[in-house]
């Protein structure tokens, strides 16, 4: 028994990412729910339709989550199946790899989300379709940010190999408290507000709440989200190309999966 304990203890002791991973999840959960609790204790009368707003935001957040994870999964599956090298010796341009991952991630996202969207209506009487036409704009914006995060993480996988895998899973949860998914920006401490304003999520979820609570649309929020998306997407694509160049120098492409 002690031997088996030692086998895992040595593994944890020798790997800083594993130690950080153990600390990371509880910390993020506590921070996220701390802000949610603070918001409800301060503004308990804010929502007339709390369930609808929370559930709609949760589903929208899942669009981001699914699209990003789908993008990462496509990459990780090639590593896990040790097929990664085969992919990079096929006559495929990097832009072709990116485009095919983007479209495959969209299919995976929709497969995962459509049943959840359908279920919320009979179970909770909430329909995300109540958002109307702006839903399409919100969906697209979240999807773009999701695949942008996917590009950042995949670039890390390309450059650093499978050891970057934990970051792939945890990157989204870091954004959850800062993204102001369930509460307005003002709930965050000032320092976090500055960081949060640099994320398109703040504008997307602020607008979602605005549409649901006030039945009006502020295109300025959406415009801000799309501008930030464009900047991050360009950075993500650039980083992916850069990671590929570095991987060819460092040899990650040939050692991937080992």
């Amino acid at each position: 028994m002690y031997g088996l304990f030692l086998r895992h203890f040595y593994l944890i002791k020798s790997s800083l990412p594993r130690v950080l991973d153990l600390i990371y999840w509880p910390t993020i959960q506590i921070i996220l729910w701390g802000f949610i609790s603070k918001f409800f204790s301060l503004y308990s009368n804010y929502y007339n339709d709390t369930l609808g707003v929370i559930l709609t935001c949760a589903i929208l957040y899942d669009i981001l989550f699914r699209s990003s994870i789908s993008f990462n999964m496509l990459f990780l599956e090639e590593i896990w199946s040790r097929n990664f090298t085969n992919l990079f010796i096929a006559p495929l341009k990097i832009k072709e790899i990116i485009v095919s991952l983007i479209f495959t991630a969209l299919i995976r996202t929709l497969i995962g989300l459509i049943p959840a969207i359908i279920l919320t209506s009979p179970l909770f009487g909430v329909s995300i379709l109540k958002l109307g036409f702006p839903l399409l704009l919100l969906f697209l914006s979240l999807y773009i940010f999701g695949i942008t995060l996917g590009l950042f993480v995949s670039a890390g996988l390309l450059r650093f190999g499978p050891s970057f895998e934990n970051i792939a899973w945890s990157s989204l949860f870091l954004l959850a408290p800062l993204g102001c998914i369930y509460y307005p920006l003002e709930i965050l401490p000032n320092f976090f507000q500055i960081i949060a304003k640099g994320l398109p999520l703040v504008y997307i979820f602020d607008e979602t709440r605005n549409i649901l609570l006030n039945s009006s649309i502020n295109y300025e929020n959406l415009k801000q989200a799309y501008i930030l998306n464009l900047i991050y997407l360009t950075l993500g694509i650039g980083l992916f190309y850069f990671a590929f160049i570095r991987a060819r120098i460092k040899g990650t492409l040939i050692n991937m999966g080992e």
Partner: protein, 244 residues
């Protein structure tokens, strides 16, 4: 006519360590060249640079006279690779895998091609099976089918018969012999199986610590070093270099 594969003064340095040191060689049309050496001698690094997976620190690898660094994606149409360290997606059937790679290499008449490969590599009985559930010998035949699906002019084989039973190993070697004669493919074969090298290769590059320490026809190398077979030549050269 351009040489299918020519390596000129190729070097790779990782973290101030020379993984490959200034090596040069050619693989002509319709020729199998062996590349031998102990683990970590630079064989896989050399293959990685030829495939464009690694950027050389110095020198170049020319495919049909064109540097892989200048036109990587287009030249990859002419190359393919098999290694026991690389597998095909495990959850796809054999046929699905061949379809995927046939499309990635833009193979014309893909259905006919898969039927041809299936026949030549005895895949008929496993064509609809899940790749991950196959035996290592079956997986090896499927990987070989993938590696020739685009009729590469240059085929790179990294230990193609490693961990196979003698019958399957012999089948693969016979297949490669016949395939190379039929298609006039240029093959670079990295192997630890000396009998395989003696049987298949017209010439051998002996590598150690990143350098080519000797090269020539297997029979000439055996004679030159006064040994009985390639295994003894391999041991002599590996030990000499390690002691120096």
């Amino acid at each position: 006519m351009k040489t299918p594969l020519e390596v000129i003064n190729l070097s790779k340095v990782y973290n101030n360590t020379d993984a490959v040191k200034d090596i040069s060689f050619k693989v002509n049309k319709n020729e199998i060249i062996g590349i031998l050496g102990p683990n970590g001698c630079g064989k896989t690094t050399t293959i990685g640079m030829i495939l464009g997976l690694l950027k050389p620190t110095n020198g170049k690898a020319l495919i049909n006279g064109i540097d892989i660094e200048t036109n990587r994606v287009n030249l990859l149409d002419n190359l393919n690779f098999i290694s026991p360290y690389i597998e095909l997606p495990k959850k796809l059937t054999v046929k699905q895998n061949l379809e995927v790679y046939g499309r990635l290499y833009d193979v014309k008449n893909l259905k006919t091609k898969i039927e041809y490969l299936s026949d030549k590599l005895r895949l008929q009985d496993i064509i609809n099976k899940i790749t991950g559930e196959l035996s290592s010998g079956q997986k090896n035949r499927v990987s070989l089918a993938k590696s020739i699906i685009n009729d590469p002019t240059v085929l790179l084989l990294d230990e193609p018969t490693a961990s196979l039973d003698p019958e399957t190993g012999d089948f693969i070697r016979s297949f490669l012999e016949n395939y190379q004669k039929e298609q006039e493919t240029s093959i670079l074969l990295a192997s630890h199986n000396m009998n395989e090298v003696e049987r298949l290769c017209s010439s051998v590059l002996m590598m150690n610590k990143g350098s080519i320490v000797d090269q020539g026809k297997p029979a000439d190398l055996i004679k030159k070093h006064g040994r009985k077979n390639m295994e003894e030549v391999f041991l002599k050269l590996s030990r000499e270099k390690n002691e120096s």
